[in-house]
Symmetry: C2
Amino acid sequence: MSRPPEGYLGAEGRLTSGPAPELVEAGYELELADAVERALAAYDHLVVERRGNSIVARTDLGLPERVVIAGHLDTVPVNGNFPSRLDEAGGILHGLGACDMKSGDAVILKLAATLDAPNRDVTYVFYDAEEIEAVHNGLGKLAASEPDLLAGDFAILMEPSNAGVEAGCQGTLRVEVRTTGERAHTARSWRGVNAIHRAAEVLRRLNEYDPRTPVIDGLEYHEGLNAVFVRGGVAGNVLPDECVVEVNFRFAPDRSEAEAEAFVREFFAGYDVRLTDSAPGALPGLDLPAAKAFVAAVGGEVNPKFGWTDVARFSALGVPAVNFGPGDPVLAHKQEEHVPVEHIERCEAQLRSWLTS
Amino acid sequence: MSRPPEGYLGAEGRLTSGPAPELVEAGYELELADAVERALAAYDHLVVERRGNSIVARTDLGLPERVVIAGHLDTVPVNGNFPSRLDEAGGILHGLGACDMKSGDAVILKLAATLDAPNRDVTYVFYDAEEIEAVHNGLGKLAASEPDLLAGDFAILMEPSNAGVEAGCQGTLRVEVRTTGERAHTARSWRGVNAIHRAAEVLRRLNEYDPRTPVIDGLEYHEGLNAVFVRGGVAGNVLPDECVVEVNFRFAPDRSEAEAEAFVREFFAGYDVRLTDSAPGALPGLDLPAAKAFVAAVGGEVNPKFGWTDVARFSALGVPAVNFGPGDPVLAHKQEEHVPVEHIERCEAQLRSWLTS
């Protein structure tokens, strides 16, 4: 499709530079959403609705159970990895979005087009703006304005998870930890207080941090507390009066956002701590019947999801959800992004089997 | 005079932003140098020479001793403190350059114009570009290209020193101390190494630093080692693979630049240390006859100079030099820059007395 704009990292809702999200929606996902809408409108077994650049296509067979299968349409920016190429001998598809998550989108499209008589009603959701600031997220917008469109007994998000089930997701929050001092000329430094030197203790605590690895529904999560940015300084001959360490906390889904924030504030007790960003985790919910049935159908193996994904949005709506998509999550957002074709085929076959048998 | 360009800190040779130095020379100090040249050309007792925007005016009476009196023409940028204003009741002159160093320049101009028969030959030097990158410094250019123009038995630099003698100056150098790590997604931080966390030890050492205060020619100097900038970070969800702490070392004039650099490298042993900037100190030289005579003439009290000044350039040419100018050095580069009128009158009177009695 069109070349996406360059300039953002687009990592989990963090817009760093480049064109405004409006441009992305107007110029790029617009075309993708048009193509998806056109393709699905051709099928009589689907009711297709559009909201902005998100498409919701549903079967409406009056079946007692409904499953939601969702994928986002956008990618991170081009990074010398477009167009994609297929290594036929190795069975590997290389290129932007191969892993995160055009392959998952392809599985959804194929199922939507071909499953005209599933054993459960299915809602297929394609949404925009997952890779930029959370406020623009198409699934988030639907959840806020028309949650009924996302209603279901169970949801499957096609985020890369090695064609296996990754349950729940960890939460994430960011804080700025600030030290202050007093400016002075460095030639007379005893007249001031160096705020950068004061950050030594903040970094010392981070080095001493011992991550929790709680087991929830049989899955071991792994928390993490990391400085992601540090900045300070006024001029080459001035004692700096401020230093800011930006810290990202990844927390297991047995903590609420409020509990996670309280932990971080306690951890940095004595410092000025400002919350800048927060998103809840999602419990795996593997004890729920719909989840149990799905896991059993696709082979029984489940791993925890460490990264934050939109399963947390379904979880917040009361819909149990898992990640289940082709590709290795470690390759997401990387230049060398790629996916084994076998993952794509396996995801499709397992979902088809579960929805027809 | 004309409004100087805004946008640099101009602190001791550190250009941070704003128009190129060429603009300063072409647009602003050009006019100042023109005015000084015109003013001094009117006096038959002076031989006036111009190099770029620096003016050298000399008496040539064939006397056995020659003294150089120097001041720079530029200031740091306007900061809401122009034009200047005289508080007549308090006897204080406020405004840009009041302290650093238009008052000193005024003393030189008055002496140059009125001392037609001094007891020593005098070389009056007005130079440009002291407040920006060292490479543009007018005195430095003269020292490199025509050191004979600066020849003398003793030099006096009109840098603010509370109308007293401040001898020698401390050296200054800057290094970048770099830590490295390995990038990873913060949701799986155990796969990477956080370079910002590794900087904890760099800051710990800075906190443990114990400054030397050597006594040289009876003056107590005071060294200082300070982080002036810190930076690191890739994205809000990525373990950073690099962190840089920029450190400024102010060293007493009993160390050479090489010795100072060796000290810093040893202090940060185990880290990647890169030298980015270096300028030597100047020994006070108070044991030299010319310096002794001057100090005795102006009252005998001498303090050490902590900041770096152009006395180091005279020192490098083998000309003993001291700072002796109106104004408090702590006010230099500050918005509230000001000078007691009494300082200006005292400096002029003492120099006049020394050069005529």
